[in-house]
Every structure is written in C-alpha cells, then in structure tokens.
C-alpha cells in the first residue's frame, strides 16, 4: 500500500467520509427528476455567489452613513474589478430572486409540498421572505439618495402597523430621522442577521431533502396517501432510484454553472446600477424607485384605492405569509399532478400575469407627474395656430403644470386623461368648470389661475379636436 493511500485511508477513517458523507452524495433520487428540478440548486448556487462576492464587497465597503457613498464610488470607479464585483452581487441577487421564485412555482405546480415534505415547504417560505429581505436591505446599502429614500419608504410602511408602527419605523431608521445609525443597522441585518438565518434554514431545507427524499415527478392518478407513502417511496427508490451524484446532480451542476456564468456576463456587459446622487436627505430632486423585483409592489402602492391602502400595507404581508405557511397542512394528500389540479396552475398563471403587468407598468409609472415634460410646439396643436389666445393657452398649459399629468399630441404626462381631442368631449364652459373645480383625482386651479388664464386655457383646450 502506498504511503498516499495510507494517508487517505487514515483521513477517511477519522473524518468518516465513506461512512457518513458518501451515502448523502450518492443517496437515491427518483428517476425522471430532470430539468424541472434544477431551480432549487440554482438558488443555492446564487446564494454561494452572493456570499463570496458579498465578502469581496465588504473588504472595500465602508458601512457608515457618512462614508458608504464615497466607498461605493471607489468600488465602482477605482478598485480593481470593483465594478464587476458590484455587478455580480447585483445580478446575483436578481438571479437568486428569480430562481427562488421559479423553484417555488415548480414545487407548487408539482405539489411537492404534500406529505411528507410539509416542513420543506415551510422552511422554503421562510427562505423566500429572507431572500426578499436580503434584496431590500442590500439595495439600501447602495447608499445613494435612492438608498436613503428607500429606507424612509420602508419606515413608512412599518408605520402602518397599529400601535407599534411608529416604534418599528424608528427602530428601522435607527432614530427619529435618517442619520448616523441608519446605514450601520441595515448593514448588520444584511451581513449578519439575515445571512445567519438563511444559513440555518438552508441547512434545514437540505437536511429535509435527505430525510424525506426528493419528491418524485407526479403522475396523474397517483395519489399521495400519508399511510402508505413512505413505504411506497422507499420501495420505488429501491427499484428504480438513481444515485443523486452524478445521475441526477449533473443537471443541477451544469444549470447552476450556466446561471453563474450568465450573472458574470451581465456584470461585465451591462454593469451594476449606476450610483445616484449622494445620500443627503435634504436633496429632494430625486425619484426613488426600488430594484426590479420590488417594482410590482411599488406599482401596487400607486394603483390601490387610497381608502384601503393603509390596511392592505399592514394586513397583506402577514396574511400572505400565513396562507403560504398553512398550505401544506390544508392540502397534504391526494393528487400531485398539475393535470389534475388545474386551479393551481390557473392561480400561478394569474399571479404571474399580475406581477408582470405591475412590473411593466411600474417602469412606465404613468401615475407620476412628468416633471421634465417639454413645451408643446405651436405646430403640434390643433385649431388656429396664429390665434394669440390659443398660443397663450398653449404656453399656460405648459408652465402651469397641466402637462405634468395631461398629454396633448405626445407632449406631457399620463396621470390624467389625454387631452389631444378634448374639444370633442367638452365645450368651453365645461372645461372651465373642470379647471376651476378640479375632479376626483385632479387639483382645482380656481385659486391659482386668473380669469384670463382660465379663459385662454379653455379656448386652447376646446380647439383640440
């Protein structure tokens, strides 16, 4: 026996690789668990990328309210590979959110949460929300004006909790206002508290894979019966199971590696999100917006009826968490196949369409005033372009801010109705009434505009037909 082999055997004996680790790696997996099963491990790959690049960033980042912005500039513009590092961490976060979402949809559609894998689902739900918490706090650590205002927005949402809201908001900001404690607290959550919880729950999540086995791909008509399932599963594995490594896991590894390469490629080709203005809460000419995976919620805040909004902000998150957590307990046996559970598939499609629409409309943000609307050139208006009253009305329409919300011939915002053909709908007296009194979602301008101004605007608008 060669010396090397002796050392190997000694290590194996003392570390217990063959005895304890190898069976885990080669544990039997159900056959046909193929490409739909790769998203959980892809999430794990992304998590590893986040941990590694997070460590890299922490070597360069200054977690202080006053210095973080300068250090971000340093990382982006000066540090060797700093820009790519920031990029990988950013796209890694996006990848993780995406993969965790697809993984969850797959588990839901295949009903893999049913007996005996209820706790896999429960720990997965907790991990989903921890991932979102990581995304949000991480986005704040990009401590420009967007980061500052995102933390204010978060505090405002906490403020909707009855009785304790004010205190939770204060706790989140580290004081009454944004200040020296704000960033270091978010840093601590993002770098220590949430990752520690994630490691714990990922450990449990993976342990449960070994404890209860990888769920077999469902087949229509094959019911899950808690009384017989474990014996049936064990028997099925004995007959048809394949070793996890390499028969099943090569797909996970290949797909995970491709995801990581895509993340790196995007970091190099597109780069991290540009830094906004410095984190000065007194600098207010900024348009705070979250990263893409938060945009649907951002849109929802604009589109919900104001009367119910505060209640939704306070009640919806705990309600969603509770519904998700009880799912495997109200439905833990029976059919698993999506073919036999059309409503589950329909629900997923509805949620996906809903979220996609909110995402798309969130980027357009038609509810926001367009502060940089351009004046309407005289050539773009209808009616007598030489008429001085109409010209005055056109000018007023621009400088009085009508264009922030109303559009005429492609100039102006989207919040209010498009007025390109308003003359067909309203005559001069009705237009005046509307301008003076406003409407359900329009300010009244009676106290702001002179009679002459209102006249000119009405003449101009009535000519738009």
């Amino acid at each position: 026996m060669s010396q090397l082999k002796k050392i190997g055997l000694w290590l194996d004996d003392r570390l217990g690789y063959t005895e304890n680790v190898l069976p885990l790696i080669r544990h039997l997996a159900p056959p046909r668990a193929k490409w739909t099963y790769v998203f959980g491990s892809a999430t794990l790959f992304c998590l590893i990328v986040q941990v590694v690049t997070g460590i890299g960033l922490s070597l360069l980042y200054q977690p202080s309210s006053s210095l973080a912005f300068q250090s971000l500039n340093f990382i982006t513009n000066q540090a060797a590979f700093g820009k790519v590092l920031r990029g990988i961490h950013f796209y890694g976060a996006s990848g993780m959110v995406l993969m965790v979402g697809i993984h969850m949809i797959r588990v839901y559609i295949f009903a893999a949460y049913k007996y005996p894998r209820e706790m896999s689902w429960v720990s997965g739900v907790i991990l989903l929300f921890l991932t979102i918490a990581m995304g949000f706090t991480g986005q704040l650590l990009r401590w420009d004006s967007n980061g500052v205002w995102s933390s204010v927005v978060a505090a405002e949402q906490m403020g909707r909790m009855p009785f304790i809201g004010k205190y939770v908001a204060r706790l989140l900001l580290g004081g009454d206002t944004i200040g020296g404690h704000t960033l270091s607290r978010f840093y601590s959550y993002h770098v220590f508290v949430f990752p520690a919880m994630i490691f714990g729950f990922v450990g449990l999540h993976l342990y449960l894979v070994f404890r209860n086995g990888i769920s077999e791909p469902p087949r229509a008509g094959r019911q899950v019966d808690p009384k017989t399932y474990r014996a049936w599963y064990k028997n099925m594995l004995k007959e048809k199971g394949v070793p996890f490594w390499p028969d099943a896991a090569w797909r996970d590894t290949l797909f995970g590696a491709i995801v990581v390469l895509a993340i790196v490629a995007m970091a190099i080709l597109i780069g991290p999100p540009a830094l906004n203005t410095p984190p000065d809460p007194a600098y207010i000419h900024t348009v705070p917006a979250p990263d893409w995976y938060m945009i649907p919620f951002f849109s929802l805040f604009a589109l919900m009826p104001p009367a119910i909004e505060s209640w939704v902000i306070f009640l919806a998150p705990p309600l969603i968490v509770i519904l998700m957590l009880i799912l495997p307990f109200v439905s833990n046996k029976g059919e698993r196949s999506p073919v036999k559970r059309p409503w589950a598939v329909f629900g997923v499609i509805c949620v996906a369409i809903f979220m996609t629409c909110l995402l798309v409309i969130g980027y357009k943000a038609p509810w926001s005033p367009v502060f940089d609307a351009k004046p309407i050139p005289v050539t773009a208006i209808h009616g007598n372009q030489q008429d001085p009253v109409i010209q005055k009305g056109t000018h007023l329409f621009y400088i009085r801010g009508c264009e922030y919300c109303h559009q005429i011939n492609g100039y102006g915002g989207f919040k209010g109705p498009n007025l390109t053909y308003i003359g067909n709908r309203l005559d001069i007296p009705l237009i005046k009434i509307r301008i003076v009194n406003g409407g359900p979602d329009m300010p009244s301008f009676g106290g702001t505009l002179s009679k002459d101004d209102i006249d000119a605007l009405a003449v101009f608008l009535s000519a738009q037909k």
Partner: protein, 173 residues
C-alpha cells in the same frame, strides 16, 4: 439501596436543572447588552431643537422655499445624512408654515412646483395644494408641518421626527 437510587436520581435531576438554569442565566446576561444595541433607538430620548433657517426678510411673501437644517445632536459619523429639508412657506400676511418634505403616502420627497402652485410627489403621484392639503393621488393625509417661530428676526424651525403616517390617518382635518 432504594434510597441510594432515589438520592442519586434527585441529585442528577438537580444537576440537570442547575446546568440548564446557569446556561439560561449566562444566555440572558449576554443577550441584554445585545438587545440594548438592537433597541437603542427606542431607549434614547431624541432631542428636539429650534434651528435657524434664515432671516425673516430673506423670504418673499407668497413663496415657498426649500430650507435645510441639521438634526439636533447629529452623530459625528452621520455626515450629510444629518441633514433634513423643509418647504418653508411665507404667507402674504408674513406668517410662516414649515412643511415636511415627506409625502404622507410613503415618505418620498415632494417637490414644490411654483407655477402650478402645487406640491408633487415623484413616487406615486401624490399632489398637495399650497396649504399642504391633498389635491389628488394616494396620500392619506395632508403634508406634515414642523413648528415655526420668529426669534430675533430669524425664522426658526423646531426639528422633529420623519413624519410617519399611521393606519387611521384621514384626509379630513
């Protein structure tokens, strides 16, 4: 013999309880200062201060001006984050109102649009009149105000927390 087993059992029971009890005490002893750090923002009393934002004659009647000031007792490591802004309105009769810049909807910074005579929020389209009342959009209540006073010819604002809208906020005053 029986007594011996019994006393051995009760001894073991005592030692088990002792070990758990002492561990619990040690855990609590370590946790208290950590909880103190976690809850620090709730434990310390935030100071309130009157800060001067300009001389009264610096502001024209009927205008709204963005003024900035430092929060009271800023930490040395706060840097620019110690700043707060306020929209200071001088009425035609010379009175002052200091509005918080935070939209009452979700706290985004509202802008004063002078020609439109409105405050507008870039986030979700909240709009307020010059007196801070809601003109349109999702805000559940009017813009918050800071206290203002005139002190030796200067306008002073009383610093305060970022206004947090609560669940039952209403547009009606």
């Amino acid at each position: 013999m029986n007594d011996e087993i019994k006393s051995e059992e009760s001894r073991r029971d005592f030692l088990m309880k002792l070990s758990l009890g002492v561990s619990g005490i040690s855990a609590v002893a370590v946790s208290i200062p950590v909880l103190g750090a976690l809850l620090a923002p709730l434990l310390e009393k935030e100071e309130v201060d009157w800060v001067t934002v300009g001389a009264t004659q610096d502001f024209k009647p009927g205008t709204v001006t963005l003024v900035t000031f430092q929060n009271p007792d800023p930490k040395a490591f706060a840097g620019v984050t110690a700043n707060t802004a306020s929209w200071l309105r001088k009425d035609l009769n010379g009175g002052f109102i200091a509005f918080a810049v935070n939209c009452s909807h979700l706290g985004c910074p509202v802008r004063w649009e002078e020609n439109a005579n409105l405050f507008m929020c870039p986030c979700h389209g909240g709009v307020y009149y010059h007196d801070g009342t809601v003109a349109s959009g999702p805000p559940p209540r009017a813009l918050s105000q800071y206290k203002v006073r005139i002190y030796q010819g200067h306008v002073q604002i009383q610093t305060g927390p970022i206004p947090i809208t609560n669940l039952t906020a209403s547009r009606k005053k």
